[in-house]
């Protein structure tokens, strides 16, 4: 009788550890911009290799994980808040690799937790490199839309300035909507220089493409994926988040144009 109680206690303790790990894993994956279907598949793969039954509920800001052995009535539930770590494809890929590694090599919970902590400490890509590459990418967008070299240069400079402002405001923990509004306003105002000083032959393309780096593309794509796989709450939440940011950047763009007295169309 005593040994059965002891075994039960050990089982429950192990289940608690597994549930906590899976909740941590799923919440980090959600925070770094993974779709709900990916979170569900990866976490299920981990649960299968740990030999436990598993269910997950992904909410816009939280993740609930329930784990049990034989009887679902004795399930252990863990829930974690989604960390605001920002979209990171690197983290996303590493976490997916971890689930395959655990599954293929039959790693235990301790080894998996150790590797997970190592991944969690992964440094984000350098901000200066990101700044420079964002500028280049947006200048390339300008070229794709038919902008000339002068327009590309204007877009590159205005993107550098706007993106740096965005980095500074996010470092200072400013509201993300205000950040998008300010970044788009200053980028639009800077790129309007082509119009005001009559530089280049395509100043309107420079103005139009100067705020494209702010479009929240990943949340839009994720929201469609979530809707397809019937994660409606997450899908709508992500869509609304992205729509609000788009409204903010449009407001900044319009404010810049209005202030500089540019014709709308």
């Amino acid at each position: 009788m005593t040994s059965r109680i002891c075994n039960k206690a050990v089982d429950e303790s192990a289940l608690r550890g597994t549930a906590a790990f899976l909740a941590e894993y799923a919440s980090l994956l959600s925070g770094c911009g993974a779709t709900c279907i990916r979170i569900e598949k990866n976490a299920r793969r981990l649960a299968d290799s740990f030999g436990v039954e598993f269910d997950i509920s992904i909410m816009p800001t939280h993740v609930y994980v329930s784990v049990w052995l034989d009887n679902p009535a004795e399930a252990v539930v863990a829930f974690r808040k989604t960390p605001a770590c920002g979209i990171s494809f690197n983290l996303n890929a590493k976490l997916s690799c971890l689930s395959w590694e655990v599954s293929d090599n039959n790693l235990g919970l301790t080894a998996a937790t150790e590797r997970f902590e190592r991944i969690r400490r992964t440094k984000q890509s350098g901000k200066w490199e990101t700044l420079f590459l964002t500028g280049l990418a947006n200048a390339s967008f300008c070229r794709l839309f038919g902008g000339d070299v002068i327009a590309m240069l204007i877009v590159f400079i205005s993107t550098l300035a706007g993106y740096r402002l965005k980095q500074i405001m996010l470092e200072d923990k400013r509201d993300i909507r205000l950040t998008f509004l300010c970044a788009s306003f200053f980028s639009a105002a800077l790129s309007a220089g082509g119009h005001i000083f009559n530089i280049g032959s395509t100043p309107e393309i420079a103005l139009g493409t100067s705020v494209l780096y702010l479009i929240p593309g990943v949340p839009y794509i994720n929201s469609v994926s979530d809707l397809i796989y019937r994660h409606y709450l997450c899908g709508f939440s992500r869509f609304l988040d992205a729509a609000v940011l788009t409204v903010c950047l449009s407001t900044g763009l319009c404010a810049g144009m209005l202030l500089l007295g540019l014709k709308w169309f």
């Binding site: 300035a161 740096r164 402002l165 500074i168 200053f186 105002a189 800077l190 309007a192 220089g193 005001i196 000083f197 810049g256 202030l259 500089l260 007295g261 540019l262």
Partner: protein, 66 residues
């Protein structure tokens, strides 16, 4: 200068000031972390702090005894 040019210059000036202010603030905080004291970009000091030639006479030096 017409109105849009003035507005454009003001906007660019504000943005430049913000970026410059941030850069100075960052430089100061880095210096503070390194030396545990604030390092000023502009400081007032004596020319002797920078230029010293061996043999220069300092008011604090006691040469009368020699």
């Amino acid at each position: 200068m017409n109105h849009p040019i003035i507005v454009w210059c003001v906007i660019v000036g504000v943005l430049l000031c913000a970026l410059l202010f941030r850069a100075v603030e960052r430089y100061n905080s880095e210096c503070r972390h390194r030396d545990h004291k604030t390092r000023h970009i502009l400081e007032i000091g004596k020319d002797k702090d920078i230029f010293y030639l061996p043999g220069d006479v300092d008011e604090d030096d006691d040469f009368e005894d020699l």
